[in-house]
Symmetry: C2
Subunit: 306 residues, 2 copies
Amino acid sequence: MDSIKIFSPATVANVSCGFDVLGFCLDSVGDEMVIHKTSEKGIKITKIEGYDLPYEAKKNVAGVSALAMYEALQPDCGFEIEIYKKIKPGSGIGSSSASAAGSVYGMNELLGRPLNKTELTKHALKGEALASQSEHADNLAPAIFGGFTLVRSINPVDVIELPTPKDLFATLIHPQIEIKTSEARALLPNSVELKKAIAQWSNVGSLVHALHTSNYDILGKSLNDVIVEPYRKLLIPHFDTIKKTTLDSGALGCGISGSGPSIFALSKGKEDAEKVEKAMKKVYSKTEIPFYTFVSKINTEGIKVL
Amino acid sequence: MDSIKIFSPATVANVSCGFDVLGFCLDSVGDEMVIHKTSEKGIKITKIEGYDLPYEAKKNVAGVSALAMYEALQPDCGFEIEIYKKIKPGSGIGSSSASAAGSVYGMNELLGRPLNKTELTKHALKGEALASQSEHADNLAPAIFGGFTLVRSINPVDVIELPTPKDLFATLIHPQIEIKTSEARALLPNSVELKKAIAQWSNVGSLVHALHTSNYDILGKSLNDVIVEPYRKLLIPHFDTIKKTTLDSGALGCGISGSGPSIFALSKGKEDAEKVEKAMKKVYSKTEIPFYTFVSKINTEGIKVL
C-alpha cells in the first residue's frame, strides 16, 4: 500500500471543567488527507484545499508533526501529503489537531503501524505546538484515540481513554469569527483562587464518574467551568444567551469548545441535541454574525482510514 | 428500640490530589457511641471516654450535629449520647467527622431512618464546622457512605459514591503530634498557579477512572498532590523520608491524611500494605516522636450499628 486516504475528525477540548486535559471526538465534521509513500525521501505537502495554509512542511502543522515522526523513525522512503481542510482554522474544534494527527496517523498506517497511539500523539504534539504556541493534547488525544479522553500528562504522553455513554450527542455552533488559541490562552490568569480550583477538580472527578456510569444527571451538573469560561466567554458574542437557551432547551450542559469561538452542548439523545441546535440557531439568526451549527454523535473510533 | 451502639469509622480525606473533595473510609479504627432515646426532650451528652472533650452539647462536635438534626426533625423525644472516643482529635483521620456522623446516624436509626445519607451529611456538617471552622465533608462523606467518595458540592450536599478496587489496602502512620485542621487550613494560599491546578484536576480525573477500572497503576500515578502537600508537609516531621520509603517498599502512593499529621499509603494487597507499615515504623523508630501505625482494608460499608 503506497497511498492512503484518511478522515481526521474535529474534536471538543476542555469539556467545560477539564481545561487542558479533557476532550471528546466528533463524528460529522473532519479533514480529509491523502498520504503517499514516495521513493524520494523527505516530507512534502503537495496539495492544500479548503483554506490558505503554508506548503512549506516546517511551517505547516501537518508538516511539522510529520517531520517529527519522520526524524524519529528515519524510514527508507518519503511522504507526500494532500490536505483537504474542512475544519476552519481558529474555529475551536481542533482544526490544527486534525492536521497534526492526520499526517502522522497516515504515515504510520503506510509504514505498517510501527507506532502506537501514544507515540503518534507525542509526534503530533509538535505540530499542535506550532499552531498554539504551547504543547497540549486535549484535542489531539480524542482525535487519535476517539471518544472521551483525559490527558494525564504530556511529558511523557499519558492518555486515559474514558467510556462514552451511548446516548450522548453533541451540538455545536460556530460563530464565524476567529479566535487564535494563542490569544485565548494569553487571556488567562497565571493563578486562580484555590476555592475555584477545588470546584473545578470536583467537577472533573464527577464528570469522569458520570462517563463511567452513564449518569446523565451528574454529567450535566459536572459541565461547569468556574475558571476559564468567565474570561474566554468575553471573546464570544452572545455566549451567555446561547448557554441559557441551550440549557432551557434540554441540553445537559453547554460550554466553550476549546478556546472558542465554537460553543458545544451535550444532550441525551439525538432528538434533544437537535432541539438544542434549533435553539442555538434562533439566537444567532438575530445577529449579523455568520454561523453554522451541527449535531454529532460522539465518535468513539477517532481518526480512521477512508 | 430505645438504645443503639454504633461504630463510627476513621477516614482519610483528600487522598493526595482531591483536596476538600475526595476521601475513603477505614476499617480497623473508629469511635464507638451509644445513643439512647429518652422521653425527656433535648440532646444530652452523658459519657465521654478516651479523650477530654466538652459535655455541653453546643460545644461538642457530636452534640452540635445532633442539635442540627434535632431542630430540623423536632421529634417527640430526646437523646442521650455516650461517646467512646478512640480516634485521637487532631490526628488527621477524621476524628471530628466520626463524632459528627455518629450522633446523627444513631439518632436516625432510633427514629426509624427518616433521613437519607445525604441529609445525615448535611446535619453532620454543622458538627464538623465546630471542629475545623469550615464546613467540609471530605471526611464525613466516606464515614457515612463508606468506600471512596467525592463531595461534588456541600451546598447543597451532593456526594458521589465511587467504587473501591477489591485488593486495595491502606497503611497509616500517626505521629503523635497535634495539628489542628483550622491551623493546617490557614497555611494554605488563597490562590494557586493555574498550571498546578490543571495537574491536580488531571490527577483527580485519573484517580476516579482508576477506581472505576481497578487500575492500580493509574491509581498510583494519580496519587500526587502538587498544591497542598508542599505546604502541609512542613508540619510533619520526616514526611519526605516516609513518602520515599513507602514508595520504595511497594506502595502505590503516599500522602498526608486530611490535614495531617497522619500519613497514608495505598497498596495492592494486604501483604504490600504490611511491608509498607514495616517501612514506616522503621523511619519513625529512629526518632523521639511517639507514633502508631495500622493497616486497614477500605471499609465499603461505612458507619454501622454494632
